[in-house]
């Protein structure tokens, strides 16, 4: 892995990112309709970091992820098939969910948080909290 010496760079403009997110949203919806819940969550979490500070893009991405999180039912299946590389990003979105204060969202996020912490350890929580550059 090469070291990066540049500062944070805006890779694409917001419009390009939003259209990618919309495409992702359609794909996630169709996976949810086919009850492929874990696939849907993976799709929603992909393409991160979006390399942008634009709040609209982040919110658009959050809506897609939120949809996949709320549809999740079988957590055992989720954790047996979710790759560890998704753990850190999922934890960040769980905290975004917990910050909404919306009861059903918080309940679901808390349920997943418990399992994710068991799986990934406290280090995962640290990584989602300590990274103030790549926020969701």
């Amino acid at each position: 892995m090469m070291v990066v010496t540049d500062d944070f760079v805006e890779a694409d403009n917001a419009e390009a990112i939003i259209s990618r997110i919309e495409h992702k949203s359609r794909k996630t919806e169709s996976l949810l309709k086919q009850s492929k819940l874990v696939e849907a969550l993976k799709t929603a979490l992909e393409g991160w970091p979006p390399n942008t500070r634009d709040e609209r893009c982040k919110s658009a991405n959050w809506i897609v992820v939120h949809r996949a999180i709320m549809a999740m039912k079988d957590l055992d299946a989720l954790f047996s098939s979710l790759d560890p590389e998704y753990y850190n990003i999922l934890m960040k979105y769980l905290y975004r969910g917990l910050s909404t204060g919306d009861r059903p969202t918080c309940d679901q996020c808390l349920r997943i948080h418990e399992r994710l912490t068991e799986r990934a350890g406290l280090g995962c929580i640290l990584r989602s909290l300590a990274d103030t550059t790549n926020t969701v």
Partner: protein, 378 residues
């Protein structure tokens, strides 16, 4: 048991250092003093108290050949202490800082020492014979935040620093008259003082301890995001590896051989990392015994109570005495370990003994002689 000696010196220890013959230990008990204790007949006795600083002493280093102690403090000063007669005599070093000094280390040849500070500067101090005093040269550029840790390369010229801006940097500290130019072409001694050789942007959060491998080929430093970074072939084209681990972040690291690193931090238990034949680093295991509650999850009794409340169910084991304030996570240390010091011969390529000190006020000596599985990695 890897921990061969444990002693509670104070309620809290900021940093510590050992005398050349390892019979005395100097530490700061979280105040403006440095206490020196001597081991005589299996009992620790207080030998000296060094009182010169006005604020907490944040760094102590004891040079092994010249038997000099250097201390730095939040009062922006540094003293070099020489043992004359039966007393430690201080010499003030004017660092020219306007913020606290945070860390200090003698260079391998002990003719210089480096100080990291909250003023976003690093001071390189050397002794000027003509005026009989220590001069401080500042590296003012580059750092965007406090310098938390400094580490000297074995060649006595390169210095690695970590900062709360998340970056690890390597500088040249070549000083005319103090260092000699290496005859090898293209080596680090071609650079001038304060020149940045390398900047590593691997961490997105604060970076803490940094250490070089015995040969100087590899660098390791830790970030607050529970990650440790290994960089091989430090130079124009380095190879970096991020190792993210399950547990709480580390605060300090030590290479005990080319391929084994010990990290210490908030888990109160030293963590062992090793590189395999292909050079891939990974977490091996904890060094001390871990306290695991029988029914609870793997993160120890301190958190199961809190998580029980968080998840709204009392399915985790709850102690009978209500809120359990004991911080027994690692077993030996009861609070964050902030400092790790090698106990081998200075400059040796393999260390099997080292000591740790932490916010619980204990100094623990670890010996890997009994850890067969780890000795194979060395």
């Amino acid at each position: 048991m890897a921990a061969v000696a444990v002693h509670q010196f104070a309620p809290c220890i900021t940093c510590h250092a050992w005398s050349p013959d390892r019979s005395m230990v100097a530490f700061c008990p979280n105040n403006s003093e440095v206490h020196i204790y001597k081991l005589s007949e299996d009992k620790w006795e207080q030998a000296h108290i060094l009182q010169k600083h006005d604020q907490i002493v944040s760094g102590i280093d004891w040079s092994s050949r010249a038997n000099r102690i250097v201390t730095v403090s939040h009062d922006r000063n540094s003293y070099v202490w020489n043992y004359e007669g039966s007393e430690w005599v201080p010499t003030l070093v004017i660092l020219r800082l306007n913020r606290a000094a945070l860390c200090v280390q003698w260079s391998p040849q002990e003719n210089k020492f480096a100080v990291g500070s909250g003023a976003k500067t690093v001071c390189i101090c050397y002794y000027e014979q003509e005026n009989n005093w220590w001069v401080s040269k500042l590296i003012r550029k580059r750092h965007n935040s406090s310098v938390t840790s400094v580490a000297w390369h074995p060649n006595n010229i390169l210095l690695a620093t970590t900062s709360t801006d998340g970056k690890c940097r390597v500088f040249s500290t070549f000083i005319k008259g103090v260092d000699t130019r290496d005859s090898k072409a293209g080596s680090s001694s071609d650079s001038k003082f304060g020149e940045q050789i390398l900047q590593l942007d691997l961490s997105f959060s604060w970076a803490f301890g940094v250490n070089w491998s015995p040969s100087g080929n590899t660098l390791a430093y830790v970030g607050h995001s529970s990650t440790i970074y290994f960089v091989d072939d430090v130079g124009p084209s380095p190879l970096a590896q991020n190792v993210a681990f399950r547990d709480l972040p580390l605060r300090d690291v030590l290479f005990i051989s080319e391929k084994v690193v010990i990290g210490v931090g908030f888990d109160c238990n030293p963590m062992v990392f090793a590189a395999d034949e292909s050079g891939m680093w990974s977490f091996v295991r904890f060094l001390g015994e871990r306290k695991t509650s029988s029914t609870g999850p793997k993160y120890g009794s301190q958190f199961s109570e809190a998580f029980g409340k968080l998840y709204g169910q009392s399915k985790h084991s709850i102690n009978n005495d209500g809120i359990d304030n004991s911080r027994q996570r690692g077993g030996v240390h009861e609070n964050c370990i902030t400092c790790i010091v090698p106990l081998g011969e200075a400059g040796s390529s393999t260390i099997t003994r080292f000591s740790t000190s932490g916010l619980d006020g204990k100094v623990v000596i670890w010996d890997l002689e009994s850890q067969q599985d780890l000795l194979e990695y060395l």
